[in-house]
Symmetry: C2
Subunit: 294 residues, 2 copies
Amino acid sequence: MTEPMFDKIALIGIGLIGGSIALEARKRGLAKTIVAATRSPETAQKANELKLADHCGIDLAAAARDADLVIVCTPVGACGAAAQAIAPALKPGCIVSDVGSVKQTVIADMAPHIPEGVHFVPAHPVAGTENSGPEAALLDLFEGRWCILTPLPGVDPAAADKLEAFWKALGSEVNRLDPANHDRILAITSHLPHLIAYSIVGTADDLGGHLNSEVLKYAAGGFRDFTRIAASDPTMWRDVFMNNKEAVLEVLQRFQEDLFYLQRAIRWGEGDKLFELFNRTREIRRALIHLHQA
Amino acid sequence: MTEPMFDKIALIGIGLIGGSIALEARKRGLAKTIVAATRSPETAQKANELKLADHCGIDLAAAARDADLVIVCTPVGACGAAAQAIAPALKPGCIVSDVGSVKQTVIADMAPHIPEGVHFVPAHPVAGTENSGPEAALLDLFEGRWCILTPLPGVDPAAADKLEAFWKALGSEVNRLDPANHDRILAITSHLPHLIAYSIVGTADDLGGHLNSEVLKYAAGGFRDFTRIAASDPTMWRDVFMNNKEAVLEVLQRFQEDLFYLQRAIRWGEGDKLFELFNRTREIRRALIHLHQA
């Protein structure tokens, strides 16, 4: 048996992502000890019942103490406060990371709290399900999925490499991006789709007459796929939109333009314009399947 | 062994839906003979290779001759021409139906061609996948899914009841709606979601730089679910939007309003408005799961 990568891993926040990291890291023997902490006593209790980590408490600093790797797994809006809470307990040489779907504001919120001698390496595993909370944790969540590291200039290369090795050991492929570029790309591939899904499910619900309606009965026609995405964690997603505002507004503007183009084509009976787009989007699906991301 | 419901079923069009009806009807012994016809020799050849029906030809009228049930399974834009082609061959007492996702224009296009003594009962199975063509046909496609009948006033009740029994025998649950009501409901539950999915995949592709991009790499963040829907048959969907114009434009207008509301909330940092919606849409998913349509 090889030596584990870390003596102690601390997970601050133990929902879908934190819980899944805990399960996977233990299964793969990546740490001698895996502890977790969350501000919610109810969540901590569930995490303990599910035995996600060796122990889950409600004192963030206590969990981070002596850890070699601390990963903040809270909604992005809570990352700054989490960093502040754990800062005094961080061991010199320790790696601090996160899993946020937005990188620029998370870096701005967390970095000022990270003590000298601690290595801050932001990360974002592009993986998840529509479920949330400790009960949503599952094995193989990261298998074959990308994890994006956005290390800052001047960070210890060995620390970034070690975090990369950790994510690869969890099953991910790893890439590195500039934080601004990350936020722009994720606004397109993840944030806009979620906003659209939330929006359309709300619209359909309003039009159909709150819940109790034919809309749900005939959801198999396409609507149900949106309801799955729109069931994602409300706090997490509110924070994403509040923290990636500029990039989201920009892609949203582009989307609105494109949708108006289709609306006009429908109004004027220009079927060829629709057909041209529908043919092109089909190719995109094929490309995705080819890349094994479908 | 009980007597089959029909001596001969004819399917005009043999793609995802027509092919799946053929497979399911044969498996369940619902007809002595199942024939199909399509205008495309290539499609007919594929259907024959796959043995979807007993035989698939390219003469629509020949297929319909002597049939007790004829189901037009073409894109909705081709239903009128199909009805015209088969009309002279239709046997008195035969039931003619369709599977179109739009009912008012299909009825307007088909009804004038249906001879006296033939029972026209429009129908729409709310089922499908993103795949199309004869190769996409599969068993159990209709299992537990709704099929909506939109019988016209004055139709023989026995004919409508027999078609209902047929769809139930294929595994569907059956409901009856007024054609205008059907079109309005489907605009919400199916047509709008497809239009949005096509639109967002096109926008993302433009923004990411045609296909070869980070957009596909990180599609697991939400985008990939849209690409699946946006891979649906371009001809079928062009026809849906051209034929359910008014209802689609109306729900699209509502959707745009709602999306602008969210856009404004993001711009002004009103996280509570987002949170309120995201919480509500999560409940809708739960209701759907409860209804077994998720």
